[in-house]
């Protein structure tokens, strides 16, 4: 039913062009080339988001395997399974992989896939930058793990403290590899943050005012701004570390009036916000899941949003609590103790709002909501030990013990991994078109929840009894034997549960029940299109009049029409009110972001061996970037619209 279109005009969607005919046209415009070239060139946020998710999950598995090796070694006292040096590498790889290659990227990955759908737009902002960020991230991950397999993996811990990580005590390339991996992943994370901020502020569906935005979008907006304000610090820190190691600067060398504490300040100015960069997206997942499965709009929307913003701000005032044991002025102790305790307040407000939503709703305890319940319990326990550790006298006793290990696994695994698995289960039908098995999912949840508590609860006791973290073994008779054995058994149960989750996902992808567009009867725009969505996301741009558009427009969804179908055109809306403002093109696929990432990787890797690599490596990188930005369309046709 293609309408007759004036040759003077461009084809646009609308009453005359909809349904199958529109699908055919839009698909042609938004599809990429088939084959390897097209695969490397793609700018589709869904394709890149899927890659990011799968890659991050592979790193989760690798980081998990490493932790199993550590737990095997610690299962019994004076075990000779793993040498001290190898053990140093293992805990460094575990922390580094989990923080830099799994936790932050996986949250961004979900946002890359789901946010443009949630906001009702056709692609993410700066999609080529998105492609580039993925390749940069992958390069960093490959660098780290290839080095580990070649027996030159880093061994100075995930926060790589100087002077241990400096040139005197860590000769060789291990720490350089760690530092360059940081540079790769920070470039990727910063790029994604820019895209997310721009997408949220400029590409929202008409009518989706800031006050109607899904809470997940709020969380990602705050997280992206936090990334922008914190990650340059660690990039600078690792740059200084590399230059101390490679060209003889003295930033951290106390003999030439540098200072090791400069590293700790720069690192934790990033490292503490990082914790919330990992937690706040999870808070977004929880809000979306609680709303859908309680069948009621989120209770206290404004309070939750303000809490997210408050956590984002407070996160920058907490970094020194990682440095209580370094000796600080008294007023420093008091300030950072107070700030660390204060952050419990907005966190508590969020938890109460979620509980209230469930209380007042009609909750369906399906797998995603189970993960939320597991999250609430575990995160609150971790939060309580956090308040304990904020107190300086106690922190000085427990610093660098297993009590701290227990604390941060409760907040990070409980606060992020549980909601993440809930979110993957929740959006799995959107990603694949099929449901994950509910029965297997429930069994997985209970096994994971129980296994987690068994693995990490005894660590509180190990720590209280004085067991330091990062020791490769311990003597008999310290009273740590039983707690360690229990932790090891728990860790293997967790591993089994994660394996079951993966099996469930793989089986369901092939044989799961077909999902349809909105299998959970959820209210967000991502459920207003097919599962999986077509390459162009929405045939017409949806219009939003409330926070729960699909619940409030059950019969018909209002849409706006008139975007071109022969070009990749996107609607830009105003920042606060989301009024339609401009039509701008979304960049077409190109190989150059991939080429630029190769040039970047060549530069970074070779610069570990000679500073001249920066001089030689920059022109190819610059050339690739210029080719990326150079206009691609061969014909310039100003379109016949009223300008």
């Amino acid at each position: 039913m293609t309408a007759k279109i004036s040759p003077r005009d461009h084809d646009r969607d609308g009453e005359k062009l909809q349904g199958e005919a529109l699908h055919f046209r839009l698909e042609k415009t938004w599809s990429r080339e088939p084959g390897l070239w097209g695969w490397l060139s793609t700018t589709d946020h869904k394709e890149i988001g899927r890659r990011y998710i799968v890659t991050a999950m592979i790193f989760l598995a690798l980081g998990g395997l490493v932790s199993l090796l550590m737990r095997l070694q610690l299962a019994s006292p004076e075990s000779g399974l793993i040498s001290a040096q190898r053990y140093n590498e293992l805990f460094t790889m575990h922390g580094t992989t989990m923080m830099f290659l799994f936790a932050v990227p996986v949250m961004e990955a979900i946002a890359i896939y789901i946010l443009p759908l949630m906001l009702g737009t056709r692609n993410i902002a700066f999609p080529r930058l998105n492609a580039f960020s993925y390749w940069a991230y992958l390069s960093g991950g490959i660098l780290l793990w290839a080095a580990f397999l070649l027996n030159i993996g880093p061994d100075a811990g995930w926060f790589s403290y100087v002077p241990l990580a400096g040139p005197e005590f860590s000769p060789g390339k291990r720490t350089d590899i760690w530092a360059q991996m940081v540079t790769f992943t920070e470039i990727a994370a910063l790029a994604v943050s820019v895209e997310i901020v721009a997408t949220i502020l400029k590409l929202r569906a008409p009518g989706m005012t800031l006050a109607r935005m899904p809470i997940f979008a709020w969380a990602m907006l705050v997280v992206s701004l936090m990334t922008i304000f914190s990650m340059p610090s660690v990039t600078l820190a690792s740059g200084f570390l590399l230059s101390d190691r490679l060209v003889g600067t003295h930033f951290y060398n106390q003999y030439e009036y540098g200072d090791a504490l400069l590293w700790q300040h720069l690192f934790w100015f990033f490292g503490h916000p990082e914790v919330y960069i990992i937690f706040l997206p999870a808070a977004g997942f929880v809000s979306e899941i609680v709303q859908t499965f309680s069948r009621r709009p989120t209770f206290g929307y404004t309070a939750i949003v303000l809490a997210i913003v408050a956590i984002g701000l407070l996160a920058f005032g907490l970094w020194v609590h990682h440095m209580f044991a370094t000796g600080l002025p008294r007023v420093g102790y008091s300030f950072y103790t107070a700030a660390s305790m204060t952050v419990a307040i907005p966190s508590g407000i969020q938890i109460f709002c979620w509980i209230a939503t469930m209380w007042d709703g009609r909750p369906r305890f399906q797998v995603p909501l189970l993960y939320v319940v597991g999250f609430v319990i575990t995160f609150v326990l971790g939060g309580l030990t956090g308040v304990m550790l904020a107190s300086v006298p106690l922190d000085l006793q427990l610093h660098d013990t297993y009590f701290v290990v227990a604390h941060f696994h409760y907040v990070l695994v409980g606060g992020s991994v549980f909601p993440l698995l809930g979110a993957v289960t929740y959006w799995f039908p959107k990603f694949t078109g099929r449901m994950m098995s509910e029965r297997l999912g429930q069994a997985t949840f209970w096994l994971l929840f129980g296994g987690f508590q068994l693995a990490f609860a005894p660590m509180h006791l190990s720590g209280l009894m004085g067991m330091p973290r990062r020791v490769y073994t311990y003597p008999e008779g310290m009273g740590w034997d039983l707690t360690n054995l229990l932790s090891t058994i728990g860790a293997f149960i967790v591993a089994l549960a994660v394996l079951m989750f993966v099996v469930n996902a793989l089986l369901s992808m092939k044989r799961g029940q077909a999902a349809g567009a909105n299998p959970w009867d959820a209210p967000g725009l991502e459920w207003a299109t097919g599962s999986p969505p077509p390459v162009y996301n929405f045939p017409h741009i949806p219009v939003v009049t409330s926070r729960t558009p699909l619940w409030d427009n059950r019969a018909k969804l209002p849409v706006m029409t008139g975007l071109r179908v022969d070009e990749r055109e996107q609607l830009l809306t105003t920042v606060i009110d989301a009024r339609p403002d401009l039509r701008e093109p979304s960049p077409i696929p190109t190989i150059w972001p991939f080429v630029a990432s190769l040039a970047l990787a060549a530069l970074f890797v070779s610069s570990m061996f000679t500073p001249w690599a920066v001089v030689i490596g920059t022109p190819p990188l610059a050339a690739a970037l210029v080719a990326w930005f150079w206009p691609k369309s061969p014909d310039v046709t100003p379109e016949p619209v009223i300008e």
Partner: protein, 205 residues
């Protein structure tokens, strides 16, 4: 079940480009300001942190950097704001010929400044490997040099694009205008660095 559409408005008459915060480019540039601004702020913090620990600033037996190259650079980069503002206005009015001329002028001015920047490195009177003071002074100058060179390449590419037939597209004028905004950020970040490299060592010694 995908909900049926109810047609509620037409977007076809919206403009395809606009300047400032209405365009996507502007938001990208602002985000990069924030990233680079944060990196500079942390480097400034490191400067004062290290200053607190050194025995002197500059340390004994070192002279403060020579003033000539850095001061000339500063004067020139401040003066460059005049053609830069003209360029921004010309881009916003879509005056192609003026934009082309001014872009070339900006490229040329930046080349002169790059030469001065090379002399700045030569007049620091300290090596990065001498002490922590030398390390941070070199780091500040190098960070800004990288920042400067990035925008210079960007300007060169834009000058090239505006001399092709793509120069007639409205969105390219937006790119020129936002690049001019970026240039302001380049010289704004320079001013504190100029004081930190050249003057604080004089005041503190």
């Amino acid at each position: 079940m995908i909900p049926q559409p109810r047609f509620a408005g037409d977007l076809s008459t919206l403009k395809t480009h606009a300047f400032g915060h209405r365009s996507m480019t502007w938001w990208g540039v602002i985000a990069f300001f924030l990233i680079e601004g944060t990196a500079f702020a942390m480097a400034f913090a490191a400067y004062f942190f290290l200053m607190n620990l050194e025995q002197g600033w500059p340390p004994p037996d070192f002279r403060p950097p020579g003033l000539v190259a850095g001061t000339l650079f500063t004067l020139l980069i401040l003066l460059s704001e005049i053609p830069n503002t003209m360029l921004k206005h010309a881009a916003e009015k879509g005056q192609l010929r003026k934009v082309r001329r001014l872009l070339l002028l900006m490229v040329g001015l930046a080349v002169a400044m790059l030469v001065l920047r090379a002399f700045e490195f030569a007049s620091l009177n300290v090596w990065w490997s001498d002490n922590a003071y030398g390390s941070i002074v070199w780091a500040l100058l190098l960070l800004h040099a990288a920042h400067f060179a990035t925008d210079w390449v960007d300007t060169v590419v834009l000058a090239g694009v505006m001399h092709t037939r793509h120069g007639q597209e409205g969105r390219k004028f937006v790119d020129v205008a936002e690049n001019a905004m970026y240039w302001r950020f380049v010289w704004l970040t320079w001013l504190p660095i100029y004081v930190m490299i050249y003057w604080i060592p004089r005041w503190a010694s």
